[in-house]
Symmetry: C2
Subunit: 257 residues, 2 copies
């Protein structure tokens, strides 16, 4: 590649998170980096877009140095605004994260990090979401950076199949304790909700969403298996949600009641 690629970096934890700084550092080794990220935490935003309210987009400086653009909207809004109002072109790569916390298995559905990457893929931009299996604001991203470097290099050199993005999850281990990168499928799992019910000072009830992660999949080809066995999991993800295998079932039903 003779010209330096343009790399869009976003996330869902917000522009000031440690994880996005780590990803920016890696991306800068490969190209010209533009950061457009939420101005506040947007975890769990899924593929939300902002249509009931207008969006703000402001330059962010730190110690007098321009570090990127913050957006008042969701991670998906950030990608749309980056392409249309910041870059005025499609970047050569869109990377999202590094998320503070896992986005493996069913979490891909709820994740703002992954939805930003998915929006990139819908725009036909090679896109990757990265997550570290550690929710701590001060998590150590050293190993994550190593594997992000390998994956970004690979995608910039080899490209991405059409209508595909990658969901990368990294074990919370040091580099020497990680066994490598494993291509996986999304494990079958769900959250068992347990709402925490409380009463406010005005005696009205309110609820905090909480829950326990339940894995229903023994496969050694899943992202959960990879993470449990100290591998970086890489799941190719698509945004065609058609359950193609179920089409014959429904075609055989009588719909003319």
């Amino acid at each position: 590649m003779s010209k330096k690629p343009v790399i869009l970096v976003t996330n869902d934890d917000g522009i000031t998170s440690k994880g996005i700084s780590a990803l920016v550092e890696v991306a800068q080794e490969f190209g010209d980096v533009v950061v457009v990220a939420p101005d506040s935490p947007q975890s769990g935003m899924g593929h939300a877009i902002t249509i009931e309210q207008p969006l703000r987009l402001d330059k962010v400086e730190f110690h007098g140095e321009f570090i990127g653009w913050q957006c008042s909207g969701t991670p998906v809004d950030c990608v749309k605004l980056a392409v249309n109002k910041v870059l005025h072109r499609k970047p050569d790569l869109c990377v999202s994260g590094i998320n503070h916390g896992s986005n493996s298995s069913i979490n891909v559905i709820y994740s703002g990090t992954m939805s930003a990457a998915m929006e990139g893929a819908i725009e036909n931009i090679p896109s990757v979401g990265f997550s570290l299996n550690n929710y701590d604001l001060n998590a150590d991203f050293t190993a994550s950076k190593h594997f992000a470097r390998i994956i970004i290099k690979n995608i910039l050199e080899n490209g991405m199949p059409e209508k595909t993005l990658l969901n990368v999850n990294i074990p919370n281990k040091s580099k020497k304790d990680i066994n490598g990168i494993k291509i996986c499928r999304q494990a079958i799992a769900k959250w068992e909700e347990e709402f925490d019910e409380r009463t406010d000072p005005r005696n009205r009830k309110y609820y905090w969403l909480t829950g326990k992660f339940q894995l229903y999949d023994e496969g050694a080809d899943t992202d959960e298996w990879a993470l449990a066995n100290d591998y970086v999991s890489v799941v190719p993800v698509q945004f065609d949600l058609t359950a193609h295998h179920a089409l014959p079932h429904f075609n055989n039903m009588n719909w003319n009641a």
Copy 2:
């Protein structure tokens, strides 16, 4: 079925919308209906969940009659709260809508209506999202009710394959002008964004998300084709986002750089 089924009705336009009333009327022909829906419009919320704020859940009466529960959160929150804090069991069916506006093709990704149904499916509840191709608050749901009736009856009698839900979109036509129900795949399409840039009274810029729908799919087996040809489109949807067809491609790459 000897016992009446319990049917959860939700949506993303909010509990006072005309579309949810239409769906409640149909559902009541088949079972005991419980409504848990957002207290305000939640269009475009995708699969967002509320984790940064607590949730409210309040009974709603109209003309002294209890009509359901309103929730301060997203459509997905509504399904989670309905199962855990209202029903204390899984309903026999979860229906979402009838949305004011289409959720065909790529819109399934952004749609709160469809994410509520997807959350039902993740909970292993047979789930269907319904949308009418008309954004008007006072849209006519007569034909929609007819087709919702056929589909609900079919699913209650024949069940739903595991890990599958249905995305139903209904043309904005009278019943006699609709040619029937067609099982489809999700068409390849995207939105071409065009942010509407304005300046506020304090001289700061803000942006409204807007755009043009672009169809990149000529297939006669797609939901867009069905709607353009006056069929009700029914797309089986899955929440395993793995791009299974792309696994060999990535397995053949060298990841040990």
